[in-house]
Amino acid sequence: MSKITKLLALALALTAAATTQAGAQDAKLKACFIYVGPTGDIGWSYAHDQGRKAAEKALPWLETQYVESVPEGQALPVIDRLAKNGCQVIFTTSFGYMDDTLAAAKKYPNIIFAHNAGFKRNANMATYMADFYQVYYLNGLAAGALSKSGKVGFVGTYPIPELKRHLSAFALGVKAANPKASVNVKWINSWFDPAKTREASEALLSEGADVLTSAEDSATGVQTAGAKNIPTFSHYNPMLKFSPSNVVSGHIVHWDKIYIDFLTKVHNGTYTTKNLANVDYWWLLSKGAVEMGADMNMPFTVKFAAQLKAAKMMVGGKSVSVYDRITALNAQMKKGESFDPFTGPVKDRNGVLRVPAGKTMSIGDLNNMSWVAPGVVGQVADEPKK
């Protein structure tokens, strides 16, 4: 027997063993996750993986598997592999997996799919998002109050609706606290790229930004702000330890809330491969899926809380401290009360009215948002002229 035949035989034996093992665990529900970045990015993919681990801990009947660093547009072969491995629920956790996930949902009608951050659904494909736009508004208030130069730097990833929504909410907050301030944006066209984030941050600083936030999936933005000793924000996860004296607050996600809810409903038969066409999780502060904070349960760091208490802003003709304003709005939105950052009238930065007076934006509008709010300075792709 040649070496190659031996190897083949060995591989076959191993596959058989693996299949038997999977068969023995049929009683469990198998959920699989596809991540766009490495689980150690300390940003987006790390947060999803924390959610996966929490769900596995909370749900004794759950077993999970994950594949990390899968480029967008290359999800289909990975899904094929997961389908062969007996995955019953597959979470695809990046916007760019949308079309691949839909194609896979049609190819595997007996598997439940859930796509993160997109808007296409199917009988066996739901969508879910824990969105930050409310939290970005609150952090924008803090950033505006803390900027002395009136320039706040924002490192953007891709100019897609999700980012435009966050950038705009942030800019509205900045301008509410500091009407003369602006938000300078630089795009890196990548979800994860520490070197690009570093140089984009440096470019923003050289243009005069003295507060910095980065939407990239690593702690590079926070570290760069730390090296220059300027205020910055945690993104997706607590990044306080990367720059303890510079993190003001931040946007922190709790994907586990959605994963546990969704998987429990799959397990008890509420969700099947037939009834997901209208299942769209859009979970905000009120569901506890997102949180404003430098660290878990820490809305502000002590140093910046003091500075924000001293900073004043005008609300309805009265002067209130920025700290009180943020705390009050955070509490309102957590309770699900009426405040929304995109309450009209809201114009875009070219002066076109986008949200009429007294109205708010629907989930569909938020997911298709292509304009950006006043106060945003810098090139923004695919911006409507009218």
Partner: protein, 291 residues
Amino acid sequence: MDELLNALLRALAFGTPLLLASLGAVINERAGVVNLGVEGMMALGALAGFAVAYGDGSPGSGSIALGIVAAMAAGGLAALLHAFITITLRANQFVSGLSLTLLGLGVAGLLGKKYEGFPLFGQPNQWPFTIGAIVLALLLAFWLTSTRAGLTLRSVGENPAAADVLGLNVNLIRYGAVAFGGALAGLAGAYLSLVYRPSWTDGMTAGLGWIAVALVIFVGWNPLRAIFGSVFFGLLYYLQFRLQGKTFIPTEFFAAMPYLLVIVVLAFAGLRGQQGAAPEALGRPYTRGER
């Protein structure tokens, strides 16, 4: 003026790992061995450097100096694997180098799991690295052109058969050059994980190794020109963000420029009917008695 100075400082900060890695690659290519594994060796160096400098996270448990040594050792050892495959086993250098990139990225990602998510405090200053890299470039330029050892190295890359006839150990010299190239790629990795962005994350090299590979061709295998080339590439990298939305030129163009320039350089060399300044025996394994 401030703007110019700042742009230059950014160019040097980003150019330092490019210069270190490309100097290493200049040496192994001058000896006739292409190593496309720079990205992988850089990743291994970044991880080894961070792991040793970080220790167990408590102050004093790690050592920056030992971290730098570990990074160079990791890069050098990975390069020796490439040397064994391409020099001793005479496998295709391009295929082996590409594999080394994938292997290095994969192994570093796997072994680095437990170091992710921790910042390194007390990180070293950038300037010893930057100035050290420039001094090294000057020394190597002198060494290559004006010393007997430098001539020996070049002869092995230009005409290994002739070098062999002269009694030089072609394979041994090539082994040494490849290991040196790997050590410098490892050092470039340490710069990334200790200085430029003091932490470890899987994939943090993000293509810098490939820019270094392109740089070697752009500067015509010349260590002196590598100084200017790396600063120039660093400047382009910074300007793609600094000039975003401020010029009529799409800034993606700046990001693509290093690669475009390499093609232009190669095309010009081709027009003049030569392969540029490339060493004559570059990419060809040496077998005694073969022509």
